[in-house]
């Protein structure tokens, strides 16, 4: 039997959470509706959930310019896959080294990571290191290497997993059977660490997919732009669309008011579709990452 008090709380909770859910969703719905709105209508009446005239014009224009979007998606996917794979590899290897409790110099090697979590050189020296020492500007590596490849928090997360979730006896018995260290790492430690690798990999993948800052700092060459960089560029300057080769269309004819929203819609569509499938892992990653390792 539920008390009245309990019932009231139940209803209030649902009510408030429904409102919050709506608040979270409504901007996305406006974005989608706006991209299907007739341009002239959007200009005179403003973006609206209930436009008086609908139209596919924005998508027709994007379709003519599909090469740019496809290229940008290709780069986003390439960068996300390479970055996540490389990052996961070097993170896991370093974490595995740190997880060996009797390793000489282990404390120093751990502090080496912890310092990077506390002290940060900031944008200026980082930019100068990458731009003037490593000449990374206008290469695909600019989107992969700076800042995102490996971070201390992930190293500590994976290290703790190796230490706490894999029984030491497993390592011992493998060693007694004469297995080499690399074999033990590849055949025992890695397969048993799938959950943490999946979570950390997901967090890294999202960071790469969403990144626009590296492109903004290190790229002038638009042919290397990821989808986020294209969106960033259009946001800064809507005429970028016209200048970047919508063939035979002058700026005047572009339905810029709705095309802006349509292109953002195309930009988030894959993530909206994929999100429900990785939502659980994403939430798990958040809880793990925030409480220190």
């Amino acid at each position: 039997m539920k008390s009245r008090d309990e019932k009231r709380w139940g209803i209030a909770s649902h009510l408030i959470l429904i409102i919050l859910s709506l608040l979270a969703l409504l901007p996305f719905i406006l974005l989608i509706v706006a991209s299907f709105t007739d341009n002239a209508t959007a200009v005179t009446e403003g973006y609206s959930y209930f436009p008086s005239k609908w139209s596919l014009d924005a998508f027709v224009y994007i379709g003519r310019n599909a090469a740019m979007i496809f290229r940008a998606y290709g780069i986003t996917i390439l960068v996300t896959v390479i970055g996540t794979a490389l990052g996961l590899i070097i993170t896991t290897l370093y974490a595995y080294m740190l997880s060996k409790k009797r390793l000489p110099g282990r404390t120093a090697l751990t502090i080496f990571v912890v310092i990077t979590m506390l002290f940060n050189g900031g944008l200026v020296p980082t930019y100068i290191v990458y731009a003037s020492i490593f000449h990374i500007r206008n290469t695909i590596w600019a989107l992969i290497i700076p800042s995102l490849l490996m971070n201390g928090f992930n190293v500590i997360l994976v290290k703790n997993y190796f230490e706490n979730s894999i029984p030491a006896e497993l390592y011992e018995s493998a060693r007694i059977d004469g297995a080499g260290e690399l074999f033990i790492f590849a055949r025992i430690a890695l397969p048993l660490s799938k959950p943490i690798l999946a979570t950390v990999g997901l967090l890294m993948g999202i960071a790469y997919w969403n990144d626009w800052q590296n492109g903004m700092y290190y790229l002038d060459d638009a042919s290397l732009y990821s989808i986020q960089n294209i969106l960033n560029q259009i946001n800064q300057n809507i005429s970028y669309l016209a200048s970047s080769g919508v063939s035979g269309v002058s700026m005047v004819d572009l339905p810029t008011t709705t095309i802006r929203m349509a292109i953002a819609f195309v930009g988030i569509l894959p993530i909206l579709i994929a999100y429900p499938f990785f939502q659980k892992n994403f939430a798990k990653g958040i809880t793990m990452g925030s409480v220190k390792g």
Partner: protein
Amino acid sequence: MNRAKKKKTDWKHWLPFYLMGVPGFIYLLINNYLPLAGLQIAFKQFNYRDGMWGSKWNDFENFTYLLGSDDIKIILRNTILYNLVFIVVGMVLGVAVAILLNEVKNKIAKQFYQTVILLPYLMSMVIVAYLAYAYLAPESGMINGILSALGMDKIDFYRESKFWPFILLFINQWKTIGFGMILYYSSLVGISKDYYEAAMLDGASKWQQIRYITLPLLKPTIITLLILNCGNIMRSDFGLFYQVPQNSGMLYSVTDTIDTYVYRMLMINNDIGVSSAAGFIQSIVGFVLVLTVNAIIRKLDKDNALF
């Protein structure tokens, strides 16, 4: 002799592990430690030809210039005040929503709320800037559409600074509330059901249970997170302050933070001196804050200290 021999075999045993650490070690060296060494350019007259080691020292000229300008006051004020408000409001809302989520017994509904409310957290700030633009655009924004339909004057949001403290707070909370909810919810579900059952037998109302059981038991988590966040008070969310106000110059008085300032001075004004000086202050004060914060947490609750 014996000892030397033992040591030699040891190194051979450990060698594969050191080799595993090499790529990560090199990466941190380049990505984190070289820039730390590069902080010295704040004291130099930097030019690309001589690089960060070869450029000439110029005493404290960069700092004298920066500290003499009004910019530094504005960016420090904005960075710190916004962060304080974000931290406090985020904590209150996060805890409140987590408690409400905990009241929902239907599993499917709970899953749905969690998924939807976390969605904005997944989006990049570029996307968020588009979403904000749909409401705030000077001509086509939804708010202005409604205003003009009602026969009122349109508001040019991207030129009117007075609205932005509220807009930025709203967007910050909109984007991060799911994160806070999940965080506090995960420590809420760890509270033993026994407490609540005992309280209910004693006739405690829901509100009393929250007031006298949930909140006190959440307190350590709340305090730890609050203090940890204060360690990052010099770092602002670059995307929020750069993308969402569309980098509009009319709004700098309320949207410019250390991070947007450093970016603008470095990339747009090409003034490496001033931007490196501002970055230097951010890094050093940030470092001191993190150490202080960690020392405080260590005293309160050793398990939650970072080191």
